[in-house]
């Protein structure tokens, strides 16, 4: 069966504050594939995730990104999200004064509207959030609180996962999904993520440590250093990396 490319990144260069961070990055992710990008701290992994989602201040100087064949770089962040790109952030943002429930409802309805689906009424929406939240250990009290305000690190990651579960994006980027999580919380998050793996949805798992990849097992692993991919392989590459350290790979180039 021939593969359908979902995301194609070609010779990407990008900078933040006049600092070139992404330099000649190439990657194609097909439908249903889970790719892991591993790299040392400060390599530019989070930068890559922001370039993909269109965060202001992250400037692409050359290269192309296509999502389902469409030019991603010409789309506003919200359009990218509505097209099916979701970023599980390394540092989720606190939004005082906005109840989590309200925020989720706006997000779900924006995405549904784009897909030509009717907006969910409040009871069905609440029902959906409760059901999805249950598996992640998210109770009603948590979603009445303002978005991420006063949440523990684990709660923030669980809320990110909940958003992913209810928005059901075609392509998810997980940026250090395990940071700040103990092993039990990590399993909960990984289960939530794995539940979305249906052979069609794709993922980009960004991580510094190999540990997470025991729970979210990738189809491909890429080593990211000096602004681009220095080596690609299967899940065993992650183990090799863990053993040898990044220095080995960075040297190679």
């Amino acid at each position: 069966m021939s593969k359908t490319p979902l995301l194609e990144i070609e010779d990407l260069y990008a900078r933040v504050c006049d600092k070139e961070i992404i330099k000649g990055f190439n990657l194609t992710i097909n439908e249903g594939e889970v790719h892991a990008v591993m790299g040392p701290n400060g390599a530019g992994k989070s930068t890559l995730s922001y370039v993909l989602t269109g965060k202001p201040g992250y400037e692409v100087t050359s290269g192309k990104i296509r999502f389902r064949g469409k030019d991603l770089l010409s789309m506003a962040p919200e359009e990218r999200a509505r097209e099916g790109i979701f970023l599980c952030m390394q540092y989720p943002v606190e939004i005082p004064g906005v109840p989590t429930m309200t925020f989720l409802k706006h997000a779900v309805n924006a995405v549904r509207k784009h897909a030509g689906e009717p907006e969910l009424d409040t009871p069905s929406f609440i029902k959906m959030v409760r059901e999805e939240g249950k598996a992640l250990g998210i109770d009603n009290e948590m979603i009445r609180r303002p978005v991420n305000v006063g949440f523990s690190g684990g709660e923030k990651k669980r809320l990110e996962t909940l958003q992913m579960s209810i928005l059901k994006p075609a392509f998810s980027i997980l940026d250090e999904a395990d940071s700040g999580l103990d092993i039990d919380a990590l399993k909960v998050v990984a289960d939530g993520v794995n539940a979305l793996r249906d052979g069609r949805r794709s993922m980009l798992v960004i991580t510094h440590y190999q540990r997470l990849l025991n729970y979210i097992v990738p189809d491909f692993v890429h080593v990211f250093a000096d602004g681009h991919i220095v080596r690609s392989g299967d899940k065993n590459l992650a183990l090799e990396l863990e053993e040898k350290g990044y220095a080995e790979f960075v040297k190679e180039k």
């Binding site: 269109g54 919200e78 706006h106 924006a110």
Partner: protein, 473 residues
Amino acid sequence: MPGLIQETKLFGENIPWLQGLREKGLAAFKRQGLPTAKTEAWKYTRPRDLNADDFIVEPSNFLAEIRAGLDEAGGCRHADGNCSCGGHSHKSGCSCGCHDCSAEQEKGCCQGHEADCGCPEHELDLRTELPFEAYQIHFVNGKFIPVHPALPRGVEIMTLMEAVLTDEAREYLGRLVDLEHYPFAALNTFYLEEGIYIRIARDVELDKPVVFINHSETGAENLFYNIRNLVVVEAGAAAKFVEYYKYGGDPKSRYFANIVNEIFVGHGAQLRHYKLQNDAFKAGHVALNVVRVKEDGRYDAFALQRGANLGRNETKVSLVGEKAGACVNAAYVMHGWATLDTTTDIEHLAPCTCSDQLVKGVIGGDAKGVFQGKIHIAPGAVKTEGSQLHKALLLTDTAEIDVKPELEIFADDVKCSHGAASGELDENMLFYMQSRGIGYEEARRILIDAYLEDVINKIGPEEIRGWFRGQVK
């Protein structure tokens, strides 16, 4: 100043004390003139545009009506026994036939809105627009529309001139206004005529809010009108008073509404005062609320300014009795070229008084927000607490904010604080929402609403709070 001082026939010019008050107002205004850049109290808000030559002061309906009443019936034509009019005294329940806009009343209440004259319909329209039950009083372009809500015992609402005729207003009118320091209030005093008098009798707790609505309708163009309201809450009584300045005519019409509220809160009494200023965007709206709170009394206010090109809502509260308290909260939301000014002056004149102020603004376009907040603690006003916080959200690079906090503390053992902050919408929050599919504008809207949430939450009654929450959007 030919534009603002005009020869006009006012009701009750033969009543010496009333006329005397008007003359004092005129003299005080002439002495001060319009505030200029050098006037400290107005240094950030320039009322230049209010000094135009083409403003028109129209005679009130009230005068015409009273005349008609007197001429035709040789005095009172009210059949019902409780009528005690000097022409027209609308006690509660007065449903006299003289206000039905029949042909003979053409000069009466329908004056000014030719197109759809038919007051009963108009009245229906006017009554359906609030999401809560209320005793509604309506003005159109600064003129009283004689429709009286049925009132429970212990509450009186009448026009100011009726209260003058029955002598009720005499012990209150002009008592709180310092004519020499408030030029617009002096001018308002010169034009004393339109406005309402509300009195809540001792220990009466009013079940529903009294809502004063001024509709700026077709015909508002170039009008200069003055409204003076008197609110008296007697000892132990409690009431809610809502002012709503609403425009329904040409959104571009330019007019100048000059409002003064004199408010008396008695011993142990409570008044909650809510105001929504949503005038046309070229209008001027200058309001002064002067409030006196006696021992154990409480004045709780929230004012939202949303409309007008130049809007000022100034509140002066004198806490004259021990343990008197005031909460003076406000919000403003503005775009375009508007200047919206919130000025407060809280005088703690007795021990153990307390005041609290939260003022928040959202400023877009080339607009300018002004907040001047003064807390004065008089000698001897020990154990008082005063706090004040102003915050503004600037939506554009050209939005501007001027803030002047002033503390004058002449007593020991007091707690007093003030703070001010301004900022912009948080880019990270906006991006976070966008990255979930929420559009940029919608995300901004959500953040702006969230920004105002805490000040809106200062509004106690839930139904009124909900109404205001809808109005900031």
